[in-house]
Assembly symmetry: D2
Homo-oligomer: 138 residues x 4
C-alpha cells in the first residue's frame, strides 16, 4: 500500500450549484488544491517547480462520482501517485467527508512534465524520489 497525503477542504457557497451539490467541475479545483499541498509537503512547492523551468500541464483527467458534497461539508482529500513515468505523473485524489469512509468522488489527473519550450522532459530526480513513497504501482 502506498502512503497517502491528506488535506481538508471546506465547501463554499461558490462551489455549489442549484442541485445543492458541488458542481461537477469544481472537484477538479479541489483536487488541484490537494496536489499543490501534497507537492509542498514533500518539499517541492509547485511554484518553485515552475520557477525552475519545469511545467506540468494536464494531459488527461477523470472523475468518478459515487456521491456528492454539499455546502459547508468539510472534505478530506487523500492523494497518492497512481503512476509515474519518465515524463508523466498521475495524481489520484479520493474525496470524502471528513471522518467518513465513503468515497464521494475520485479525481485522477495525469500531468505531463514539459520544459519552458513545451517539449516533454524527464521529471526531476529529486521530485521523483520525494514521490516514490506515495506511488501505488509495484
Amino acid at each position: 500500500m502506498p502512503e497517502f497525503h491528506t488535506t481538508t477542504y471546506r465547501v463554499s457557497y461558490a462551489d455549489t450549484d442549484r442541485m445543492d451539490r458541488v458542481y461537477y467541475a469544481n472537484y477538479f479545483v479541489i483536487a488541484e488544491r490537494a496536489r499543490t499541498e501534497f507537492l509542498r509537503d514533500v518539499g517541492h512547492a509547485y511554484k518553485d517547480i515552475e520557477a525552475s523551468g519545469c511545467l506540468f500541464p494536464v494531459r488527461n483527467c477523470h472523475a468518478r462520482y459515487r456521491g456528492y458534497a454539499v455546502y459547508d461539508d468539510l472534505l478530506e482529500c487523500r492523494s497518492h501517485i497512481g503512476a509515474m513515468r519518465h515524463a508523466t505523473l498521475t495524481f489520484v485524489t479520493d474525496i470524502r467527508r471528513a471522518g467518513s469512509d465513503a468515497s464521494l468522488v475520485v479525481a485522477t489527473v495525469e500531468l505531463a512534465c514539459v520544459g519552458e519550450n513545451g517539449k516533454p522532459r524527464v521529471i526531476p530526480e529529486a521530485l521523483r524520489d520525494a514521490l516514490v513513497p506515495y506511488l501505488a504501482e509495484a
Copy 2:
C-alpha cells in the same frame, strides 16, 4: 457517422489561468454549455427535463487535452452521443478553435438518469428518440 451538434464559445478572462490558457476544469463548464444547447436544439431543454422529474447527475467525466485555448479564442464545440443505455447517457464534446480541424480538448461526460428520489430510471423515450441521430454506436 453520427450527426454532430455544434455551438460556439468565446473564452473570457475568467476562464484563463496564469499559464494564459483555459484552466483545465473550465473545459467541463464549456462542455456543460454545449450539451445544454444540444438538448435545447433537439427539443428537450434541460430545465424542462428537470421540471418533469428527471435529473441527470454526472457519474463520470473525462477530458483529454491535446492543446489548449487562450483568451478571446472563439471555440467550436462539436458534440455527439457516445453511448446511450437504459439509464445512462454519454455526451462527447470535441473543442477546437472555430475554423480549425485540430482538436484541443475532448470532454466525455456520462450522466445517469435518476428520478427525484435519486433512483435510476429509464431515459424518457422522446428524449431518446431525439438523440438517436447523434449516437456514435452501432
Copy 3:
C-alpha cells in the same frame, strides 16, 4: 441619453449556487463578457488593446442586486460608459432578463489604464473617441 451596447448571456448550471440563483460574484464574470463584446463592437478588441501595451486592471467594482437570475435565464446586458477620465474608464452594465424591463443587477466596474510597466497612462485617443457616444456624463 447615452447609447447602450447590448449583449445576451445564457445562465449555466456552473453559474448557479444552492439558492438556485446566480452566485453573487458571477455577475462580474457576466459583466466582463459584456464589456469585452462592447469593446470588440466599437472596433477595439481588448486582446488587441493589451497587445498594444495598454492594460486595464480593475480599480473598483460594485454591484447592486435588486433581483436575481436563475438557471437557463437568457439575460440581456446593457452597457454604457459611466465615466471616462484621463486614465480611468467606468463601465456600467445593467443585467435583466431578455424582454424584461426590470433590472436584476447593475455592475459598475472602474478600470485604470496602465502601461506594461504598471504606471497610469492616458487612454488611447481612438478608444476614447469610439466610446464617447456611450458616455453618460455631460
Copy 4:
C-alpha cells in the same frame, strides 16, 4: 477600534487569470469564505442560520483594488462588521499577504436578512449580540 476576525487563504491556479493575478471577481469568493468562518467562529454557522429560516442574500458589494494577489500567495483576510441595521449587515474584509501590512483588496458586502418568503426580517438577536464586538460604528 472594532475587533477583527482573521482567516487565511491560499491562492490556487484556478483563482488566477492570464495577467497572473487573482481574477477580480474571485476576491468575492475569498470574502465569502472569510465571512463564513467569521460567523462559524462567533457561534453562528451560516448553514445553521439558513436552516433556522433566515437567509442573507447579497444586496450590494464593492471591492477596491490597491494591489493584487498572485498564485500560491498565502492571504490574510481581516473582517469586521462595517454596519448593522435592523435587517442589513455589512461585512468588510481586508485582504493582504500574510505578514504584510499592505492592503491588496478591500471587499465590502452588504447582506439583507430575509425570511424564507423573501421578505425582510430583523436580524436574530443572538447573532446581533455575537457580532457587536466586531462592529466599526459608534
